[in-house]
Structures are given as structure tokens and as C-alpha cells.
Symmetry: C2
Subunit: 235 residues, 2 copies
């Protein structure tokens, strides 16, 4: 009900804290092919990233959403680009990065991919098998390392030591803000409709409480809007 | 249009070739967990298995559908059981096998699963990583090896040497019939709405042509109905 209120508020032309801003978002999982039929992936539903794209558009932003394979409709007014693998996602991000004010890396990018993709389907002849994996490109860190970079926001989905891992990731990747999520808690995280994010930045933190993903998205975007550089030319 | 005709035909109480028969089907992919968030899976959409369940029910059968994770509605009149992993699918199949006249293994069961599932999310510390996999249980072969077994039908999704692999699988697993699909052809197979199956059994073969999955399902089920033992007590 709260999220519904805010959606209407922004739609009805109330104060739009992201008016004139350009946001680039990633959402969903990536799929890393082992062969033409098998892949490695994760349980990301894309719901949080799609909620962010939807809310950002309602808050006045021009939104580009780069999505891995999900079963979600495109939010109204959002420019959506579909990709499969982490490498494809990185290429789409870099192609669309120029002129963005904010980048939110919400996708659950596969950390590793198989070394080589087999051309034909692998035959199952052995009782055991070993898959060699290599690290995927780090999309968030790549964006954060650009000379002319947008305000860069990451996510941390952790099962334990949540704040420690989140703050470590914030510093290591040079992010402006990180949204942490304890995925070991039932009823939140990957496939849930609700979430309970805690935001961390160098000088502070903010607990968003427990609410639906639209409300969490709105709160996160309002915090981003407050923390954006006042002088657009400095960006 | 052809499939629509037959759907109506069976629904309107025409000859129902599977009347009084009990069918157990598996459909969709399985997901094999690496840790609480990552998994190994494949591109099966479940469309063929769900089309088979729907058509079998229209043709008079009592249908139990054991499905991996898919985004499909349950066909009307079908008893659906949802599972994730190959081990869970095998357990559900064995729990429901007694009294079945036909078993169709349409699921794209993951051949391998990670040796051990990590309890917490694996941290990405290494540039390369090795995942040790072990063979999953063979659900089709397990069903075919039962003393009192149903008429057992398998699928073969191949990218090359389709007939050779299909006939090898038919013999090796002791199946009654196998439906082979060349997934290297565009517009058919895993996520497509159309298919082009070829059926093989010990003494023969039947090419079903190229049509939508409902029509392919109907033709496959009619072939199964023709090949079922006439004497029910012999089953």
C-alpha cells in the first residue's frame, strides 16, 4: 500500500527526484554456457532490478535496463536490452555507459564461466567429470574504474557477515554505494517479492526496513538522488 | 489448426485412445545446486512435456506430471508435482510409479551434479576454479529396469548423429520407444513452440514431420497407444 501510494505520487507529477537523470541498470542472472544445452546460472529472478527500473522511471529518470534471462514484463517507459552471459552484459553496459548519471549493478552476474564452450552436446560417458571455470569480467568494478564514471551502485547478496562483506566490496570495487541483502533470511532476496536492504557508503549506512521490492527500490533511489553530485558538470 | 482440431475432437468425447490408462510424465530441466544461489541447469522450457500431459489428458488418460522449474501453467485435469533436482525427480517418480501404464521421461535431467553443495555462498577468491561433478541417477533406466514396469518412453535431444544416438539409448536403457529431436535445427527443440520428432522402437521408426508441440505430442501419444500391450494384465 505504501509503495502504491508512492507510485501514484510520482506518476501524478509530484516531485520527481530523478528528473533529467539517466540511469543504467543491470538485472537478473547471467547464463554461462557449458555446451549448446547446459549452463551455469543462479536463482536471481530479476524482480529487484525490474522494480528499480520501474520506480526510477516513475521518479523522472531516463532508464536503460540490461537484463539477463528472466520471466518479467518490461516496465513501462523503460528501454530494455536482453543478454545471456556476463561477457554480453559487460559489452551492453559499456556500449550504453556514455552520458549516464547513475549505474546500478543489480544483476547477479555469474562469477565464473566454463573455460571452453563445447560445440556439440557433451556426451555423458564418465562417472565423474570436472568443469574448469575462469573468472568472468567484473562489470561493477569495470564501470567504477572509468575516468568519467556515473554514480556507481552495487548489490551484495550474502549468507553471513553481511556488513563486513558489503563494506569490503564497496571499498575494493570503488563504489559510491552498496545495497546489502542477507539472502539466508527466508522471505527476502532472490525470488521473493519483499526485501530488507541495508545501504552502506563510506560515511554512513541506512537500514531500509522490510517491505516489498517496489518500496525498497523507491527508498534506494531516493538515497541515490540525495547523494548525487549537486553540480552536474562535476559528474 | 490441425492440433486445435484434434484437441476439440478428444474433448468432445470422440474416440479416446488412452481412456483408462495412467500416464506418468517428467518435464522441464532439473537444477543442481552448487551452493544456496548457484546452480547447473539446461535450456529445457518444459513445453514438450506439458504439451504431452495436456494431450494425454484430452485423450482420456489419468496424468501425473513431475516437473522441474518451469514457467508454465498446469494443464487442466493434470496432477502436477514440482521438483528441483534430479534426485528429487527420481524420488517423485518412484513414489508414483505403481499402477502406471506408461512412463514418458521428457525432462532434460541434468546428467551431473556437484559433488558437494556448499552451505554458504562460495566466495570468489580465485582466478580459476574447478567444479567436481558426479553422475546423477538415471531416471529412465531406473524405471525401465523395474520388474513390473510401465511402457517406457524416452527422449533424445542430440546435435549430431541423431538416429545413431537415439537407437543406442533405446537399447542401452531398455526402453520401449524413444522420441528423437535434432536440437541443432533452428525453430525446434528446447524453447521453441514447434518440434520435429522421429520415433524409434526396436522394429521400426516413424517421422512425425514438423508441427507445433501439441500436434507432435498427440502423434507420439497415438503411437504409444497403438504399441501398448493389448492385454492389460500382461503389463
Amino acid at each position: 500500500a505504501i509503495a502504491e501510494h508512492w507510485r501514484d505520487h510520482y506518476r501524478d507529477g509530484g516531485h520527481q527526484p530523478l528528473k533529467g537523470k539517466r540511469l543504467l541498470l543491470t538485472a537478473g542472472p547471467t547464463r554461462e554456457a557449458l555446451d549448446p544445452v547446459r549452463y551455469l546460472s543462479n536463482h536471481s529472478s530479476g524482480k529487484m532490478g525490474f522494480a528499480l527500473a520501474d520506480q526510477a522511471q516513475r521518479m523522472g529518470a531516463e532508464v536503460t535496463l540490461i537484463s539477463g534471462p528472466v520471466s518479467l514484463p518490461t516496465p513501462q517507459g523503460v528501454n530494455r536490452i536482453d543478454v545471456e552471459s556476463a561477457e554480453q552484459m559487460l559489452a551492453a553496459v559499456m556500449d550504453n555507459l556514455a552520458g549516464q548519471d547513475v549505474f546500478v549493478g543489480c544483476a547477479a552476474v555469474a562469477d565464473y564461466r566454463p573455460v571452453a564452450v563445447a560445440e556439440g552436446k557433451i556426451k555423458k560417458s564418465e562417472a565423474a567429470m570436472t568443469v574448469e571455470l575462469v573468472r568472468n569480467p567484473d562489470i561493477l568494478a569495470t564501470v567504477a574504474q572509468q575516468a568519467k564514471r556515473p554514480f556507481t551502485v552495487g548489490f551484495a547478496a550474502e549468507t553471513h557477515n553481511v556488513e563486513q562483506y558489503a563494506r569490503d566490496k564497496l571499498a575494493r570495487k570503488g563504489l559510491d554505494l552498496i545495497a546489502a541483502n542477507d539472502v539466508s533470511q527466508p522471505g527476502q532476496g532472490f525470488n521473493a517479492n519483499a526485501n530488507a536492504l541495508t545501504l552502506y557508503w563510506n560515511e554512513g549506512a541506512k537500514d531500509l526496513g522490510h517491505s516489498d521490492k517496489a518500496d525498497q527500490a523507491r527508498q534506494l533511489l531516493e538515497t541515490i538522488a540525495q547523494r548525487l553530485p549537486a553540480d552536474e558538470n562535476a559528474n
